[in-house]
């Protein structure tokens, strides 16, 4: 029966009734990375060093060496990334269950609020209002925070100002609630981190990281085009590189969207 379903699924893909949407930014050297005080270690932006390009270093072929952090570009956070998840089993990208890499998503549209206030914080009432319209968030779902932030670029995207980055994200209570009361598989954003730009000042600091990873859940960030997803029904495929003991990985995130949404 599974084989039949998959054949139907493949046919739906081929026929276009299931669409594949790319939620990934192009990995490029000038894409912003998280900003930490410079005395701390820093995430490397992407660096590309050409090995050869049909030239003396390799007459028939073109290829590059790349350098980047596990948290550069559109990327996946595993529980081991945060101290709260450090002792969990299978908490790194190489050991996490592969089944977790394919899961449905609920998309909460906060683009209007984020346009009005770059420091907008997602709260429990906002999610409850969404649930009133679309139903309770099922367990093992991604919750993706749509802010349309991915339509910005460069400086507007990083939005650094007085006191650092000003980008939307979740507050502390909603993160705990989503993990403990809704059993989400993970939380995804269009901004540089799963947390708000000013999340260092929340309690606990960086609540998305704190509660997601402490609960063995995952993060996705620097997603784009969440406006192309329906509020419910999309399926996310996010397969981090199998980096030994990796805390995360740059990732190509795809969404499958059925014709009726």
């Amino acid at each position: 029966m599974a084989a039949t379903d998959l054949a139907a699924f493949a046919a739906a893909l081929a026929g276009g009734s299931v669409k594949v949407i790319d939620l990934t930014f192009t990995l490029s050297p000038d894409f912003p990375v998280i900003v930490l005080p410079p005395e701390f270690g820093q995430a490397s932006p992407l660096r590309i060093e050409q090995i050869s390009r049909y030239d003396a270093a390799g007459p028939g072929w073109y290829w590059n060496n790349i350098t980047l952090s596990e948290h550069t570009g559109t990327h996946f956070d595993a529980p081991i990334h945060w101290f709260t998840g450090k002792d969990l089993p299978n908490n790194a990208v190489d050991t996490m269950p592969v089944a977790d890499m394919v899961a449905p998503a609920c998309v909460i549209d906060c683009s209007a609020q984020s346009a009005a206030d770059p420091d907008f914080l997602l709260t429990i009432p906002v999610v409850e209002a969404w649930e009133a319209e679309h139903g309770r968030i099922p367990e093992r779902n991604w919750v993706l925070l749509r802010t349309d932030w991915s339509k910005r670029s460069g400086r507007d995207y990083a939005n650094l100002g007085e006191g650092g980055p000003h980008t939307p994200g979740p507050d502390s209570a909603v993160m705990r609630w989503l993990v403990e009361e809704r059993g989400i598989i993970g939380f995804g954003t269009e901004t540089i981190g799963t947390d708000a730009g000013q999340a260092a000042h929340l309690d606990p600091p960086y609540p998305a990281h704190h509660f997601l990873h402490g609960g063995g859940r995952y993060g996705l960030q620097c997603l784009r085009d969440l406006d192309k997803l329906p509020p419910t029904g999309a399926v996310i495929i996010a397969t981090p590189l199998k980096i030994i003991n990796g805390s995360g990985s740059p990732v190509r995130v795809l969404a499958l969207v059925g014709e009726t949404g």
């Binding site: 050297p29 000038d30 270690g41 490397s44 590309i48 400086r155 650094l160």
Partner: protein
Amino acid sequence: MTQPLSPPRKRSPLNRTLAPSQPPAARSRTSHGFTAAAAEGRFALQCCAHCGSFTYPAREICPECLSTELPFVEAPRGGVLVSETTVRVPADVYFRERAPWRIGLVKLDCGPVMVSHLHGDCAEGERVAMSLQLDKSGQAVAFAKPQQETPHMQDDRQWREMTADPKFRRILVTNGRSPVGLAAVEALLKAGARTIHVGVPENWKPFPEEERLRALDGVKLVPLDLGDERSVRDLAADIAGKTDILVNTAEFVRPGGLTDRQGTSFFQMELAETYMGLVHLAQSFGPAMRMRGADGIDSAAAWVNVLSVYALANWQPFGAHAASQAGCLALSHCLRSELRSGGVKVMNVFTGPIDGDWFQTLPPPKVAPRAVADGIVSGLRQGLEEVFVGDVAQDVRRRLAANPKALERELG
């Protein structure tokens, strides 16, 4: 009187760019005593340790007393131009292309007679001030200028061959975010630079001085991440052929030596931003600049690296940084040799700790970014290869020359 330089005219694509040629470069090993002095803007001659007489040209034995102890020492610069010659049809290609060329004999106050290139305002029978200059082959030659300042003196045609004066030149300063880069831009503009492209790394981050920099006449901000090969290559594609002076102000300072740093990421970053940055710049800009070393009054002229003086001798509290700077220094010597055939000088500006964020807790003396900028400009105007800015850099230079081992112990 020196004719002031006129702004260069636009090049016609119908004309071939003059390929750089070089004056004769052969020198004896002993003669490189002059090279060492010229590189730093000193005037040095051999002076017999026994009888005290100065001698020229370079010799192995004192012509007065036959002593073999003939160290190079600072010598008085004064002299009289006893005869001058204008060479109208020289046999040598380099001078033929630049004829007529004036040379002369200068009787030095300290004794010897020197064959010297002449500033246009030097007249026979008058007093002159001597210097040693590095010519387009990178070798030391004697140069006589009038003892008193004359109008537009710096614009003299023969003097300009010896220097890399910023006047009318198009310049790239690689980092406008850094205090040194910012100060360099202002000093170079003041020195008459025609245009300055100013690199802005991580263009997605705002910085406080940006608006002021952008408002300066002749300044153009360009995205430039030295650690990113493509970023450097893309900029070079636009401007390498019209960059006459490249000022590499790359800096990445973090404290720590080898064992007291956690992990290796800062080592990687400092190498990426400084060592690899220089590699990227050299590969992208070097070939174009080398081709344009004889391209008129705004020819390619110089490549400047701002380096920590601890590139010469490791200072443990910032030991890893010093090591990365030592790597850059070694690269600069390689680059110097590779650009020499184009007549493009490589000037290293060594500084002690700079007054800024990363040396905040160090006591004075620290070097003001402005002083580094002034060192860059005056070094270019004199045509130097080595500039030591500030007390710390000069002190390290002296102690290294006196006893490298002692310096190692004192710094470590």
